[in-house]
Symmetry: C2
Subunit: 117 residues, 2 copies
């Protein structure tokens, strides 16, 4: 199967076809966000990508790569390495605030703790 979520189509969890819902479906699949994140600094070969992703299973790697390629977020360059497309590169930019947020999150958990009132 190869159901890559795309704007304008019904996706898992939403029938509206809104772009954000397609994005949330696509990015909600395991490792999808991570792959984009790891490619943000430049192209990587499949094996290298798997290594930086702490050894994600190859079957999932290729499935995600296929989805992300269909979604035009990732492409294979002339060297055979995977890299972000222009619009794919914008994802990691759009995700940057999330990186900052995560640090604040960590601090807030240290400070108050999840249970501490």
């Amino acid at each position: 199967m190869s159901t890559t979520p795309t704007p304008g189509h019904e996706v898992r969890g939403s029938t509206t076809g809104r772009p954000l819902m397609a994005a949330l479906d696509l990015f909600g699949r395991r490792w999808a966000l991570r792959i984009l994140w790891e490619l943000r600094h430049g192209p990587l070969g499949a094996r290298a990508l798997r290594t930086v992703c702490d050894g994600m299973s190859s079957s999932v790697l290729y499935q995600r790569l296929d989805e992300l390629t269909t979604a035009d977020l990732v492409t294979k360059n002339d060297d055979g390495d995977y890299e972000l497309t222009p619009i794919g590169a914008e994802v990691s930019t759009a995700l940057e605030p999330l990186g900052n947020w995560a640090d604040r999150w960590a601090q807030s958990l240290e400070a108050g703790g999840p249970q501490a009132g």
Copy 2:
């Protein structure tokens, strides 16, 4: 089981404990991002939340709610409704650029198409 990813701990897909990796694990679970998104405008009861999420299965809803609560992103208010915590509300803010991105993504797919050169 109840393995809620938190900063400082080993999470699925990363052994470093970096906050972003914990976030990526937590948010990479089905419906997690969507729940935060749907709560961005205010509290919702469980049943209402399930409705706006296009009928996500209740078993997953409560599992996510549990994880997000443990992660201190969601809390249950005095009315019994679920709402974002302060740090949880910052997630949807941090996610806003992603909403804008998704619209550009949709346009870029319409314009060139995934396959079109």
